[in-house]
């Protein structure tokens, strides 16, 4: 089991009080493709960052168990976490425009991930960076390595981000809405690229998104989150047989070109879901 989450609670202290973002969720994720879907504020990104221990200082994490490959993350110190971050678990953020350092070239940023965990000279690392850029299907990787993030398109930036997180050969890749900031035509390409890399390397993937059909297309299992709780966890192939009214509601309010509806369904949210 790569990621073992049992009864995870995450809350944020602020001047006005305490806000509970995640209210007792449990998940077991192995070397598979696991999707987490939910609306904005449902706690999916916060959960992902808790696995990497990348939450701001005012976050309080509590759980019966929160472990990565048997390592207790709640008890892990900064040094142990650095052995996990990057090296064993990569993390891809939403928008490459903001998640890549603006004053460093793409090549330098990928090379840094490589030599931090694999050692070797800067020259070897840069060579590895160019090879990685080639693996994420960037044409002319040598030229792109010398570019700054603002000089490339969103799709290319996200490919560079994937290359950077793949550099130390991690066992798990967490992608936090990796395609939400990209054009619709590029989204599928990026997801397919991630799926290829993850499958060929036998890695685990946690794909976070608010796009239920898209995620179910690329994942083995999907957890549907609402207001900090998991509403339902099902096999992606069985999405049509989802039983929870929230999942059904999400599916019904998607417009379809093949079966156009007079009026789209409105998503209902039932407070009773919070106390099952």
């Amino acid at each position: 089991m790569l990621v073992d989450i049992n009864n995870l609670h995450i809350s944020f202290r602020s001047r006005t009080g305490v806000f509970e973002a995640v209210r007792g969720i449990s998940m077991n994720i192995g070397a598979e493709k696991f999707g987490i879907v939910g609306e904005s504020g449902s706690g999916k990104s916060v959960t992902a960052r808790a696995i990497m221990k990348l939450l701001p200082n005012n976050a309080v994490i509590e759980a019966d168990r929160l472990a990565f490959d048997g390592i207790d993350i709640l008890a892990a110190d900064e040094k142990t976490m650095r052995g996990i971050r990057g090296k064993r678990a990569g993390f891809i953020l939403q928008d490459p425009k903001y998640s890549l350092n603006p004053v460093k070239t793409i090549g330098v940023q990928i090379a840094e991930a490589w030599y931090t965990h694999k050692g070797g000279t800067r020259r070897e690392a840069m060579q590895a960076a160019i090879t990685l850029l080639d693996q994420v299907k960037i044409r002319d990787p040598k030229a792109v390595a010398a570019l700054y993030p603002h000089e490339v398109s969103g799709g290319m930036g996200q490919r560079a981000m994937i290359a950077m997180m793949m550099a130390p050969d991690p066992e798990l890749l967490i992608a936090d809405e990796p395609t939400s900031a990209l054009d619709a035509t590029v989204q599928a390409e990026i997801l397919r690229l991630m799926e290829d890399l993850v499958s060929s390397r036998g890695m685990g993937l946690i794909l976070i998104s608010h796009d239920l059909p898209l995620v179910s297309h690329f994942c083995d299992r999907v957890a549907i989150m609402y207001a900090g709780k998991v509403m339902e966890e099902i096999r992606a192939a069985e999405l049509n047989r989802a039983r929870h009214p929230y999942t059904r509601g999400l599916l019904e309010c998607i417009p379809s070109l093949l079966q156009p509806k007079e009026q789209l369904a409105v998503l209902n949210r039932d407070p009773a879901w919070m106390n099952p």
């Binding site: 650095r82 928008d95 998640s99 890549l100 350092n101 004053v103 603002h150 950077m164």
Partner: protein, 337 residues
């Protein structure tokens, strides 16, 4: 390449417009301030005829645009006139007073940036913790208490009571006018002459004014560094850097700081320009013959040529440091290259 030439032309033209504006303003200062230059030169007891003759001689009876034209031509020839009080040429006065200020300003900038930048970064990293609070109080004191308070206290403690440091002045009497003048900066001149006793004497005299000027500038640099750093630490690429498994020191100095450094260029350039303007209070307390005191004394005497000369100098310093910061910014930040 063509775009770069275009932006460069844009910058240079704005510099010329600013400098022209500076000429207009200084000219108007000379005209608007209610001191009749002729009376100032001749003395207020001079007979009417003498003053009238002097007005014609000084060109004050000409139309204003002719006077302005003559003024610009004079300035472009490097002619700033002479002081009406000491009858020294303004250019030679400035050449004497400015190096004293420059010497202080360079060291004060060095002290303030070498301390201020790391302190600001540290405060940002430890935001809300004890280190941040202590740094905040230290900076608040440096920025809000008047410098003469520190200057007096420093003299009282380190000069009068402990006798660790020399008192006001640039040199001890023993070394005065002992080294030949090249740059006007005593430390540099004595180093050139190889007179190390004079060098250390001059350096010892600079410790107090440099620390007081440096403390004041440091407060500002620290606050700005902290603000820039806090902003950078909240950026997404910091999450990326941490997710890569980099050490906190690498995240701070190799990922957050380079973006902060770009912004600090402007702060440091303008701080240096401000220091070069000279500080009247510090220069007065420490008997330092700098440009700040020169300008203030000239102003008190209604001696307009030195006032205009020093104002032009300070204006040109600001314009050139702004230009320098702009160019450095372009060099350091790939986004505006």
């Amino acid at each position: 390449m063509k775009r770069r030439a275009k932006t460069l032309a844009g910058i240079l033209s704005s510099v010329f417009i600013t400098l022209f504006g500076l000429l207009v303003v200084t000219f108007l200062i000379g005209r608007v301030i209610p001191i009749d230059p002729a009376i100032a030169a001749a003395g207020d007891q001079a007979p009417e005829a003498v003053i009238r003759a002097l007005r014609t001689e000084m060109g004050l009876d000409q139309p204003i645009w002719v006077q302005f034209y003559r003024y610009v031509v004079q300035i472009l020839h490097g002619d700033f006139g002479a002081s009406n009080v000491s009858h020294n040429l303004v250019t030679s006065d400035i050449a004497r007073y400015f190096p004293a200020t420059f010497e202080l300003a360079v060291l004060a900038l060095l002290v303030s940036s070498l301390l201020g930048v790391p302190l600001g970064v540290w405060a940002a990293v430890r935001q809300g913790r004890l280190a941040d609070q202590v740094i905040r109080v230290v900076c608040l004191a440096g920025h809000s208490l008047p410098t003469f308070v520190f200057a007096m206290l420093s003299l009282l403690i380190f000069y009068k009571t402990l006798d660790w440091l020399p008192g006001p002045g640039r040199q001890s009497i023993f070394y005065t006018d002992m080294v030949p003048v090249f740059t006007g900066m005593i430390t540099v001149d004595s180093a050139i002459a190889g007179d190390w006793d004079a060098f250390f004497d001059a350096l010892a005299h600079m410790i107090q004014p440099v620390c007081i000027l440096g403390y004041f500038s440091m407060a500002y640099i620290t606050r700005m560094s902290r603000a820039f750093m806090l902003h950078a630490l909240h950026d997404e690429y910091i999450i990326t850097a941490r997710a890569k498994g980099l050490s906190p020191a690498t995240v701070i100095w190799k990922h957050a700081f380079p973006t902060v450094a770009v912004q600090l260029v402007t702060v440091l350039a303008l701080t240096f320009a401000g220091l070069l303007e000279g500080s009247v209070v510090t220069e007065t307390v420490f008997e330092w013959p700098g440009i700040g005191r020169y300008l203030t004394n000239a102003l008190k005497n209604g001696d307009m040529n030195p006032v205009i000369g020093s104002t032009l100098l300070i204006g040109v310093i600001y314009v050139s440091f702004n230009l320098l910061a702009d160019l450095l910014y372009r060099l350091l930040d790939p986004r505006v290259r």
